[in-house]
């Protein structure tokens, strides 16, 4: 039974390309050209993963509204934003609305497929009890690679996939400084330094919100970041 993916994208050529490619990767993909079409379809049946373009036709923020609608329906539905707009503001808004990931249209179809696979893996592993998965533990930190979950003193920190991969990169070699390029490669993001910085900031905030004493991510000015256990 193939997994169903919905792509909401107003540009028909791109939509067709993505639909065909994802179908080739073995997913059952549907494309929608506008927010209305998508909403109508989702009211009937929710897909298992949604890829949304932020600017939909004449609604520059239509993707965000759709994301909000979907989150109201399901808290666990994986949502990926896909857009030509890669400014900080959009990143932050998109992720604050509860998207699981955010990719620019630069991203190759292979990367996109890998992201989708990772998200489905995560959903799968969340459903099954943790058994044979790789777990990295550092003091209060517990990182479950399969489920893409991060726990601090047993409390789950709600990280997006991108943030998870960043933390993963830092934690795998504690004490090693990871520069921004490395973090970008690991998270398979192609964004600029400032975006990495804001990602790190958001990760810290998420940790601090649940564990005020958190200061494990250290900035090494001019080089990058490292995990200090």
């Amino acid at each position: 039974m193939a997994r169903s993916i919905a792509i909401v994208e107003d540009e028909p050529l791109i939509r067709a390309n993505y639909v065909e490619a994802l179908n080739r990767f073995g997913y059952e993909t549907r494309g929608y050209g506008s927010r209305g079409d998508a909403s109508t379809a989702f009211a009937m049946r929710l897909p298992e993963l949604v890829i949304i373009d932020i600017g939909l036709g004449d609604e520059p923020e239509g993707g965000f509204d759709l994301c909000r609608e979907l989150r109201a329906k399901s808290a666990t539905l994986p949502i990926i934003f896909l857009t030509a707009r890669d400014s900080d503001f959009d990143v932050i808004s998109g992720l604050r609305l509860g998207a699981d990931d955010y990719l620019s249209k630069d991203t190759s179809l292979h990367q996109l497929a890998a992201r989708i696979a990772a998200l489905f893996r995560r959903i799968e592993s969340l459903k099954t009890p943790a058994a044979s998965e790789t777990v990295i533990e550092h003091g209060p930190l517990k990182l479950e690679s399969e489920r893409m979950r991060v726990l601090w003193n047993g409390i789950e920190i709600p990280l997006t996939v991108t943030e998870f991969w960043m933390v993963h990169t830092l934690v795998r070699f504690p004490g090693h400084v990871k520069n921004r390029d490395q973090l970008m490669r690991e998270a398979e993001l192609v964004v600029d330094d400032a975006t990495i910085t804001s990602h790190i900031k958001r990760i810290r905030k998420k940790f601090v919100a649940l564990a005020p004493e958190f200061d494990a991510i250290e900035t090494v000015h001019g080089v990058g970041y490292r995990w200090t256990p």
């Binding site: 490619a21 890669d86 249209k105 400032a194 000015h221």
Partner: protein, 665 residues
């Protein structure tokens, strides 16, 4: 010249007011004087007539001999020393003689000085006396008259011999003194006053001049200062006027009254300044003051000369007392058509200067006040205008510094005057400029945004082509297409990078950091990248704490280092230095390399300016955003970025002052 200064200059126009007033006051002063002069002329005319009517002892008409009064007796010795005080008023006679006559209580003295360079001498008793140099002297007293021959063959005492028969009371000899020098001879003699002489005649006969009438003598009446006439004048003279009677030869024959003014109280007395003002500003038409017009036997003044020609004349002089003027009127006295002399009335007065001064000072005070008020009003007006203009200017400057975008409403656009018009035009202009600037500014990001979609189409299509089972010979083309798309993507990203950076920089958060740590950390990171180049780090001994955004600083340093790396030769040197300054701190990155071209100095930190050579084919083009980011970071930290040439390289400096602290709400 500022607007304010110009308007103040315009305010000087009010100075025309005192000038006009000054002219008016002068006119008034002239009128006052005219009135006074006319009054005095009238009284002078009345006096002249009265003198004739009352049969006052007027001086005779025609020329006369004047007897000066000598306070000391004169020694008869033929020498002129004791005549010295009287000599200025010596009466010339003929072409070659000077005559002086004087009197005291007992004697009448005579002195005749003749210029005769060529001499012929004989005594009076000599037969040849008449053909030698000689004087004929005639005197008369009442009915009696007598002529004398006066000559001398040698200097010394001599005797004049009477020529006529018995002449009653008159002596038949006169003892005289005769003295000579190279230029001529002098004769001196005296006669007792008891003779009551009333005429004196003189004939000067110099043999060398070819004399035809050796016995002739010219007889004129004798006049002197007459107390009786003075009394007569005193009776007729108006109050406060000095009256002097002058003979037809302008000799003083009578005088009455004084020129003194009643003393004023000190408060009323005009000060030296007031009198100076009067003399220099108002009464510029004073006649020249003759130093010989006071206490002299002969009053030789222009108005007197005028009167002697038969016409009344007036003159104004500065008075003796400070701030007073003297009006002089000379009126001829005529009897039966013959001129018997001149009455000279002199009236000193303070009223005219006082009035004129008062008027002038009042006027000056008024106009000064008007000037002050007008100047003040204009100054206020100009200040307000200047302030408004300055606001307009500042707004325009701000908008200009802001690349034509207004940071708020344009000032003065509500004003109804021309400045409001100007402000509205400015506002419209800047709106247009700002709109255009915004368009340009967002063009790149808009363009990149628009290009992203077709790029994504091409890219996803290429990805799909991979799986479409292309023949093997199509592979390289696919790879090339991917390459081209990747390059296009890089270009598009770079295009939107500037505006993205601006947003990121504006949103940066600050913390208190030791700048030395940042610089040290960055420098450590750069060592790996420097390759064979030498990298020196200069840090201050103490920590340099500042409220900054460390990420931004590090980013700016990255850009500077990246910049330096591409210009430094492979075995060159680089230096990172942190120096505390009074305002904050400077971070400098210097490197060996080619100097900056002078033309680029000002534009180095602008967006899309690059000094690098054209990118080698295959590289992404360099869009020159690095230094622009550096500038943005520096400006975000209330500082600036600058570049300068060193002896063997260049140095780029970040001047930082720290971010403004956020108020905790």
């Amino acid at each position: 010249m500022t607007l304010r200064q110009k308007l103040l200059l315009v305010a000087l126009c009010t100075l025309a007011l005192p000038v006009a007033g000054w002219l008016y006051v002068r006119q008034m002063e002239t009128l006052l004087r005219e009135g006074q002069a006319q009054a005095l002329v009238a009284s002078a005319r009345a006096m002249a007539r009265s003198l004739v009517v009352v049969d006052a002892p007027l001086p005779p008409a025609g020329p006369a001999w004047y007897l000066q009064h000598t306070p000391v007796p004169i020694t008869i010795d033929g020498y002129g020393d004791d005549w010295a005080p009287l000599s200025p008023w010596a009466q010339t006679f003929g072409s070659n003689a000077k005559v002086m006559l004087a009197e005291d209580e007992h004697w009448v003295y005579f002195s005749v000085e003749v210029r005769a360079p060529r001499r012929r001498r004989a005594d009076a008793g000599d037969r040849l006396a008449l053909s030698a140099d000689h004087l004929i002297v005639s005197i008369a007293s009442g009915e009696d008259a007598q002529r004398y021959l006066l000559a001398s063959a040698a200097p010394g005492p001599t005797t004049a011999i009477a020529l006529d028969a018995d002449a009653g009371v008159l002596p038949d000899r006169i003892n005289a003194q005769w003295q000579e020098d190279g230029s001529g001879f002098r004769v001196e003699f005296r006669l007792p006053r008891g003779l009551r002489l009333d005429h004196f005649g003189l004939g000067v006969h110099v043999a060398a001049d070819g004399d035809t009438e050796p016995l002739s003598a010219e007889t004129r009446p004798l006049i002197d200062f007459s107390p009786s006439l003075s009394q007569e004048l005193g009776r007729l003279a108006p109050d406060g006027v000095r009256v002097r009677m002058l003979s037809p030869d302008a000799w003083l024959v009578a005088q009455s009254g004084k020129l003194d003014l009643p003393d004023l109280p000190a408060s009323e007395r005009p000060g030296w300044f007031a009198s100076l003002v009067y003399r220099s500003l108002l009464a510029t038409r004073f006649d020249a003051q003759s130093p010989w017009a006071e206490d002299v036997p002969r009053v030789d003044l222009p108005e007197v000369r005028e009167a002697l020609r038969g016409k009344p004349a007036t003159a104004w002089r500065a008075g003796e007392a400070r701030g007073s003027v003297v009006l002089a009127v000379a009126m001829p006295v005529q009897m039966r058509g013959r001129l018997h002399g001149v009455v000279l009335l002199e009236q000193p007065s303070r009223a005219v200067p006082l009035l004129a001064n008062r008027a002038l000072f009042g006027l000056l005070l008024t106009s000064f006040a008007v000037l002050l008020v007008a100047g003040g009003v204009l100054l206020l007006f100009a200040t307000r205008l200047t302030i408004r203009l300055r606001r307009l200017r500042n707004a325009a400057e701000r908008a200009q510094a802001n690349d034509g975008r207004l940071d708020g409403p344009f000032p003065l656009t509500e004003a109804g005057d021309e400045l409001g018009d100007l402000a509205r035009s400015f506002a419209r202009l800047f709106e247009a400029v700002g709109g255009y600037t915004d368009y340009l500014r967002t063009l790149a990001s808009k363009l990149s945004h628009e290009l992203n979609t077709p790029l994504a189409i091409v890219k996803s299509s290429l990805d799909n082509l991979d799986h479409a089972g292309l023949p093997a010979e199509a592979e390289p083309y696919l790879a090339r297409a991917r390459d081209g798309v990747a390059r296009l993507g890089a270009l598009v990203r770079a295009m939107s990078e500037a505006s993205r950076m601006e947003r990121a920089i504006a949103a940066a958060e600050a913390e208190d950091v030791n700048l030395a740590d940042i610089v040290r950390g960055c420098a450590e990171g750069y060592r790996a990248l420097a390759g064979g180049r030498r990298l020196e780090v200069e840090l201050p001994p103490s920590a340099v704490f500042m409220h900054v955004s460390p990420e931004l600083i590090a980013q700016a340093l990255d850009k500077l280092f990246d910049n330096a790396l591409s210009f430094t030769p492979p075995d060159g040197w680089m230096r990172i230095a942190l120096r505390p300054t009074p305002e904050g701190a400077d971070i400098e990155l210097a490197n060996q390399g080619p100097p900056l071209p002078a033309a680029m100095q000002g534009r180095l930190f602008d967006s899309l300016v690059s000094l690098r050579d054209k990118a080698t084919p295959g590289d992404a083009p360099h869009l020159g955003l690095g230094l622009y980011v550096v500038r943005l970071v520096a400006e975000r930290h209330q500082g600036s970025a600058s570049a300068r040439n060193l002896a063997d390289g260049v140095a780029f400096t970040l001047h930082l002052r720290g971010l403004p602290r956020q108020r905790l709400a």
